[in-house]
């Protein structure tokens, strides 16, 4: 077996647990298996382990729960985003017909719009971190397959949302798409990726980080009118349901603090 094929096998075997990887690759070296036979063995073991892992409820909760929560969050965030910036999109489309000084006197400036966008972008980053953390924790054994499936789901939702912002008569597709691609998606993907890495490495969030992120996310998302418009006590339970990743982060933080108290006592 060449070094390239060995490296390829080692790369594929990263989908296995460390002990499985050590044992399987060592067995293949010892038996002097050909590349084809070794590839067949490694892939076969990966498929069997994945099928075994997907029989548990946690990966399904992680995948379906986060997909639904992400879909709802992206839908409501995009609706808010589109509505809040409708005026700015219209201004961009018709900038030739306005005197900038007049807009400035009326308080319609990008100095107001950009900080607003940044605040909501930061909130989206925090929310997606909690979703990524919950996903990474629940899907630890199937992280690669589940991540690929989730990327397909998220990309489909984002494509549909971006396309729905197209208005041929005003041509606001470019402005809407640009803001979605360069503002919304980076915040969402960055937060989600950091959360997945953290959740996959350690199922218990550091207590201070967890409380801060989870509480800020839940309260801020509710106050920002993400879910169902203006804050409303009647829809607060629904907000909690859609913020379940943040609740999950809080729960793991409480679990970790309980275990630490037992260890120190």
């Amino acid at each position: 077996m060449t070094s390239l094929s060995s490296r390829l096998l080692s790369f594929l075997a990263r989908a296995l647990d460390p002990d499985d990887r050590e044992a399987a690759l060592g067995d293949l070296v010892e038996s002097k298996a050909t590349f084809g036979a070794a590839l067949h063995s490694v892939l076969g073991l990966i498929v069997r382990r994945q099928l075994q892992a997907w029989r548990a409820w946690k990966p399904w909760l992680g995948f379906v729960g986060v997909s639904v929560a992400c879909g709802a969050a992206l839908l409501y965030f995009s609706a808010w985003f589109s509505g809040a910036f409708e005026l700015y999109f219209w201004l961009i489309d018709n900038y030739e017909h306005f005197d900038p000084a007049m807009l400035h006197d009326a308080g319609i400036t990008f100095e107001i719009g950009i900080p607003l966008l940044l605040r909501h972008g930061a909130l989206l980053l925090l929310w997606s971190w909690t979703a990524g953390f919950a996903f990474g924790t629940l899907s630890r054994g199937v992280i690669w397959i589940a991540s690929m499936l989730l990327i397909v789901v998220a990309a489909s939702i984002l494509t549909c949302l971006t396309w729905s912002g197209w208005n041929p008569s005003t041509g606001r597709l470019l402005a809407f798409t640009s803001l979605m691609l360069f503002a919304v998606m980076p915040a969402f993907v960055t937060g989600a990726w950091l959360g997945v890495c953290r959740g996959a490495l350690s199922p218990m969030a550091a207590q201070a980080v967890a409380y801060l992120v989870a509480l800020v996310t839940m309260v801020a998302a509710w106050n920002a009118g993400w879910w169902f418009g203006a804050p409303n006590a009647a829809v607060f339970p629904l907000c909690l349901v859609l913020s379940w990743p943040a609740v999950f982060v809080l729960a793991t933080a409480r679990t970790s603090s309980g275990r630490m108290r037992k260890q120190h006592s």
Binding site: D19, D20, E22, A23, A24, L25, G26, D27, L28, V29, E30, S31, H40, S41, V42, G44, L45, I46, V47, R48, R49, Q52
Partner: protein
């Protein structure tokens, strides 16, 4: 009751004794049964038997022969011996008086 492959694995582990690990068990099964034994089937069955308490496993030492990678050692437990014995007795009882019991091994009809 054990499955056929589980019995083959337990028998191979019992025969190999202290030298029972992934690759050696796989080689023993292939030699004994003249059938292919995939790595995936081997390790998932090892996990299943360990969950049932019929074997114990641990990571052994790395060797140069294995490219510096450790091996997964296997040891059959008392419960595993009991279950394997039950399977063996069941096969013996089920085979009494049947045509192939009286035929010498390796002879085809």
């Amino acid at each position: 009751m054990l499955g056929e492959f589980e019995y083959h694995l337990l028998s191979a582990a019992a025969r190999l004794d202290e030298n029972a690990y992934g690759a050696s068990i796989q080689h023993e099964i292939v030699t004994t049964t003249a059938r292919r034994c995939s790595t995936g089937a081997l390790y998932t069955t090892i996990d299943r038997l360990e969950t049932k308490g019929l074997i114990e496993t641990w990571m052994g030492n790395a060797t140069a022969e294995r490219g510096g990678r450790r091996k997964r050692m296997v040891r059959i437990t008392a419960k595993g011996v009991g279950e394997a014995s039950k399977f063996y007795e069941a096969v013996i009882k089920a085979s009494r008086g049947v045509l192939w019991e009286m035929r010498p091994p390796g002879v085809e009809s």
